[in-house]
């Protein structure tokens, strides 16, 4: 289970598979997820917000891991660890579904060529 930090409409997703990797996914790795919980449920959603919701509960989607709880080693010997696992939904060509991210992402995305996600993020470490 990971939190989804973009505004695509998903809040909590479950990892179904790690793509192109035999080990557990790290920051910058692509995974297949199933959306388990939607953000801002309820009928009080405005029409615009309703339109902004791009995914529904039960949808299968691709995502990129942006934070991991497992500490990740940087080339200079330092380690980074976040308090949660988080991802950003992307389509198959690698563009993020959402238009905004709401929390910090790992800097490893730069090396793994996810600069689109990095530019959306409010902060990166």
């Amino acid at each position: 289970m990971l939190t989804c930090i973009d505004n695509s409409g998903a809040a909590l997703v479950e990892c179904a598979q790690v793509l192109k990797r035999k080990k557990p996914a790290g920051i910058g790795d692509k995974i297949v997820v199933v959306i388990q919980k939607q953000r801002s449920l309820g009928h009080d959603l405005s029409a615009a917000a309703q339109a902004a919701v791009k995914v529904r509960r039960g949808d299968v989607c691709h995502a990129v891991v942006v934070r991991t709880k497992k500490k990740y080693r940087r080339p200079d010997g330092s380690y980074i660890r976040f308090d949660d696992n988080a991802c950003v939904l992307v389509n198959k060509s690698g563009d993020p579904l959402g238009t905004r991210l709401n929390s910090v992402v790992g800097e490893e995305l730069r090396r793994k060529k996810w600069s689109k996600i990095l530019s959306l993020a409010p902060m990166n470490v």
């Binding site: 330092s78 980074i80 660890r81 929390s103 470490v125």
Partner: protein, 199 residues
């Protein structure tokens, strides 16, 4: 079996022509001299004196090789010993777990946080900082002697000395310090301008 005398390996010396006859020393009394003293000697060709080079005895490894390597590495990584002193157990004013520390990196933004753990392992010494960024807990291990670290600042001391060495309990929401951004902001406003003037 073999033809020439030079091919006889077992011979100690080779035959040479008579080079000179030994002269009878004139100091000797004539009475002592035999009447015919004209024997020729074989004089061996002059050879350079062989000198066997004697090397000084090989120094054994230092008694504590790892210690020697560590001190050598620290001399290059931390020539002034400032960082060593900063985290030394014997220094009263050293940085201790619970303090708020800012690390200025050579490439990248400074990172600050509460010091949770100091891992003392010689050159590999490292410390763990914890902070909250956009309300997400972030922890970073830094190598103490890493050349990627420009400077380490002590921003704020813990009010009361922490009673354990590893403050992992601060990961629990109940004990979490939260974001140190405000404390660091206050510190930079207060201290950094004066530092700049000094430089």
């Amino acid at each position: 079996m073999m033809s020439g005398p030079s091919s006889l390996r077992s011979m100690a010396s080779c035959w040479t022509s008579l080079t000179q006859s030994l002269k009878v020393p004139t100091l000797l009394k004539p009475t002592l001299l035999p009447t015919t003293f004209t024997r020729n000697f074989i004089v061996a060709p002059k050879r350079e004196k062989r000198r066997i080079k004697i090397h000084p005895p090989i120094k054994g490894p230092p008694k504590n090789p790892l210690q020697a390597l560590t001190t050598q590495a620290l001399q290059t990584l931390d020539p002034n010993g400032t960082r060593q002193k900063m985290f030394s157990r014997h220094n009263k004013d050293s940085i201790r777990p619970g303090d708020i520390v800012q690390v200025r990196r050579r490439n990248g933004d400074p990172f600050s946080g509460v010091l949770l753990n100091i891992r003392r392992r010689g050159v590999d010494s490292a410390f763990l900082l914890r902070d909250h960024l956009t309300r997400v807990g972030v922890e970073m291990w830094f190598k103490l002697y890493s050349p990627a670290i420009e400077d380490i600042d002590l921003v704020q001391r813990k009010a009361k000395r922490a009673r354990r060495a590893k403050l992992y309990y601060m990961r629990q929401p109940k004990h979490d310090f939260g974001s140190v951004a405000n404390v660091v902001k206050e510190y930079t406003r207060r201290v950094r301008p004066t530092q700049r003037q000094r430089k």
